[in-house]
């Protein structure tokens, strides 16, 4: 193909392309929703696979799409296991809080295994140019970064949390490989602290705004009541108004601080990550547009009682693709999948019971 004419070591630099359409995906979503309901949830495994196939297939780097390879039966198995675990935990914690406390410890020890399992499964099911991704993390590493560090961070009054988050990201990224090459990551602790600080400051700023708003509403309420308007009705209306405003501000705060943290961290992470000799990444997220995207998506979902969900999902994917640039080096044209050793690509041989992603979603 035209790739052969490229001079060596000159990267092809382009934005990630996303070609999914809201109308098209709406049809997929609503039909799969109905089929999932009618089959009491069983079809939801097929629905998940088709949804992922749609989003992966419409995401292209260097004009080549991603592929999602999971078999719905594997997804179904994972879901059944997840439902059983979840139901047991839910029932036990409702019936007896003490028993739930006792269960928390084994669950904490189990969760790193679930994380590793999920990463392994999902990356192995992701293919680009017929080469699969792979995750090489092991249980002990996940236990260290996802259980021990956060628990220790609590004892520092969360002051060490940004550092723990950096370690988690490093652990996840540096264990991902593609075509025999491992991602290299070199993130700064300071960037995580700055992101956390700015996000925290935005919440504090908003809290002040909330305080002023409540005071003003309270004042208006007092004036209205003083004017002799039916006092009970007035007070009730004000109480309702305050709770609505608080609720709205809570969402805004959630969206804003989340957007700030995600933008700063994603940009930094992409800047400092590379697949040696194969690809470099760049992310140019901006806080205000992204916060607006999150917030307006949420509003759209509320206003349409959920029907806007497909549109919001497409919109978010399109935005994230649009702010992401990948530089692909010619080495990409001659990678060999080192993961794929099984002789049968159809996956007919019985996968192990736990060759699944134990997840409800």
């Amino acid at each position: 193909m035209e790739n052969n004419q490229q001079t060596m070591a000159q990267p092809r630099v382009d934005k990630v392309a996303f070609s999914g359409k809201a109308g098209e995906f709406f049809g997929i979503w609503i039909v799969n929703l109905l089929l999932s309901i009618v089959t009491l949830g069983i079809y939801s495994a097929w629905a998940k696979v088709r949804t992922n196939q749609y989003f992966y297939g419409h995401t292209r780097i260097d004009n080549q799409p991603f592929r999602y390879l999971a078999n719905p039966i594997q997804i179904l198995k994972g879901r059944i296991i997840a439902v059983i675990i979840f139901a047991l935990f839910f029932a036990l914690s409702s019936l007896s809080p003490q028993a739930a406390l006792l269960l928390a410890l084994p669950f904490m020890l189990l969760s790193p295994w679930l994380i590793v399992q999920s990463m392994k499964f999902n990356l192995r099911m992701t293919s680009y140019r017929n080469v699969r991704f792979a995750f090489h993390g092991e249980y002990l590493g996940a236990l260290k970064y996802f259980v021990l560090l956060p628990v220790l961070a609590v004892f520092t009054l969360y002051l060490a949390m940004p550092w723990a988050l950096k370690k988690m990201d490093q652990y996840l990224v540096s264990n991902i490989s593609f075509g025999g090459k491992t991602l290299q990551i070199n993130t700064d602790t300071s960037s995580y602290y700055i992101a956390a600080l700015v996000a925290f400051a935005s919440i504090m700023g908003l809290a002040i705004v909330i305080g002023i708003a409540v005071a003003i509403i309270g004042f208006i309420g007092a004036v209205m009541v003083g004017d002799g308007i039916d006092s009970t009705a007035g007070r009730g209306a004000i109480a309702a108004l305050i709770s609505v405003v608080m609720f709205a501000l809570y969402f805004v705060g959630f969206a804003l601080s989340g957007a700030i943290y995600q933008c700063m961290i994603r940009n930094h992470l992409f800047e400092r990550t590379e697949l040696p000799g194969v690809a470099k990444f760049k992310s140019e997220m901006q806080v205000i547009p992204y916060a607006w995207l999150i917030l307006s998506n949420l509003l759209a979902i509320i206003v349409t009682v959920g029907l806007a969900y497909p549109w919001t999902k497409i919109r978010k994917a399109a935005y994230l693709a649009g702010v992401t640039t990948v530089a692909v080096y010619p080495a990409i044209d001659s990678l060999v999948d080192e993961v794929q050793q099984d002789s049968n690509a159809f996956g007919e041989e019985a996968a192990g019971l736990f060759d699944v992603d134990v997840s409800l979603a």
Binding site: E24, V31, N32, Y54, D337, L360
Partner: protein, 345 residues
């Protein structure tokens, strides 16, 4: 298929990222040959058991996979292979056909509604007898213990008022021939709960000093309140509420799939609204139980209305406001609605 078909596309060997512009040639018998466009060399060949088509997803090309892991993808994303499996083709047709999309749009909410409102409560009721008594005992004991530690203080009621409440309690248990052993009445002072009463799944019923004082001139109203709480225990509402909430959470989680961050929040509040709806249904059930049993004891259902009116008056202004919004945020039905129900009987 009477003639051989030729499809333009790209080919990749198993586990290799190298791309070849290629033509796939499918004979009427299903023999597959893939040739490189540039130099016409054969890249792969396979007979029907050794190749398969990927899923047909709207807007995406359908890949052709070989058993060894090689892949051929047509250049035209709208191209559909004539030998595509029926199921794969059907899923895509349903997803892209206007009629089926509209049908799904209408049917999904209706079915979901039916599952939440009818099926879930039904399944929950069926599941409740499966919960052993010992679990309910345990639940009641633990909750009672933590409440005693946190929000309940010893009663300060005069002895004659205590005796009056216990007399009505005993009368209700005797005449309704309920198991004495199972039911236990406790009187507590509680600033946290105010004028209130509640029941635990093991048959423990608590009524606060504040409520008894409020109703001290209307003994039948106290009886009505006690009957309402007995109704919760008889209906095994605590366990049913848990079962229903679990069911609803699972349905929402599975059906709506991955709620990404923001949707998470939304589904969370949805689950709370739903749980409150379940709770309101159970309050109504307990109300009906109380009203029916009042009649069986030869009392007027008006006694229940009196209890509610007294509560309404004591809660004052905030209790009187029941805007549409607040109604859905409440765990109890509107008090005036409850009074009307009692007086209608």
């Amino acid at each position: 298929m009477h003639s051989t078909i030729f499809v333009q596309g790209q080919f990749q060997h198993a586990g290799s990222s190298t791309l070849y512009a290629a033509v796939a040639e499918l004979s009427p018998q299903g023999m597959l040959h893939i040739r490189c466009t540039d130099n016409n060399t054969q890249l792969a060949q396979a007979c029907p058991p050794d190749y398969r088509f990927g899923s047909a997803v709207p807007g995406l090309a359908v890949e052709l996979r070989l058993r060894d892991g090689a892949v051929f993808v047509p250049s035209d994303s709208h191209y559909r292979w004539p030998r595509l499996s029926k199921r794969s083709a059907l899923a895509e047709r349903l997803e892209s056909h206007k009629l089926s999309v509209v049908a799904a749009l209408l049917l999904s909410p209706l079915l979901l509604w039916w599952i939440m409102v009818d099926l879930m409560p039904m399944l929950a009721s069926a599941a409740v007898p499966l919960v052993p008594d010992s679990v309910k005992q345990q639940m009641g004991r633990q909750t009672f213990y933590s409440l005693q530690k946190t929000t309940l203080e010893p009663t300060e009621l005069p002895a004659e008022q205590q005796a009056m409440v216990r007399y009505h309690w005993q009368m209700a248990l005797n005449q309704l021939s309920l198991e004495q052993r199972q039911y236990q009445l406790h009187l507590f002072k509680s600033d946290f709960f105010g004028a209130n009463a509640f029941a635990l799944p093991d048959g423990t019923v608590v009524i606060t000093d504040q409520l008894v004082s409020l109703l001290k001139d209307q003994p039948d109203a106290i009886l009505a309140v006690l009957l309402h709480e007995i109704g919760h225990v008889e209906g095994q509402h605590s366990v049913r509420l848990i079962a229903q909430s679990l069911g609803a959470t699972l349905v929402i989680g599975i059906v709506f799939g991955n709620p990404e961050g923001v949707a998470d929040l939304l589904l969370g509040s949805g689950a709370v609204l739903l749980q409150n709806a379940f709770s309101r249904d159970m309050e109504r059930e307990a109300d009906q139980f109380a009203i029916a049993k009042l009649a069986a004891l030869g009392k007027s259902p008006q006694a229940f209305a009196d209890a509610m009116s007294a509560l309404l008056a004591s809660h004052g202004d905030d209790g009187e406001q029941s805007s549409a919004l607040l109604k859905y945020l409440s765990t109890h039905p509107d008090t005036r609605e409850r009074i009307e129900q009692a007086t209608a009987n």
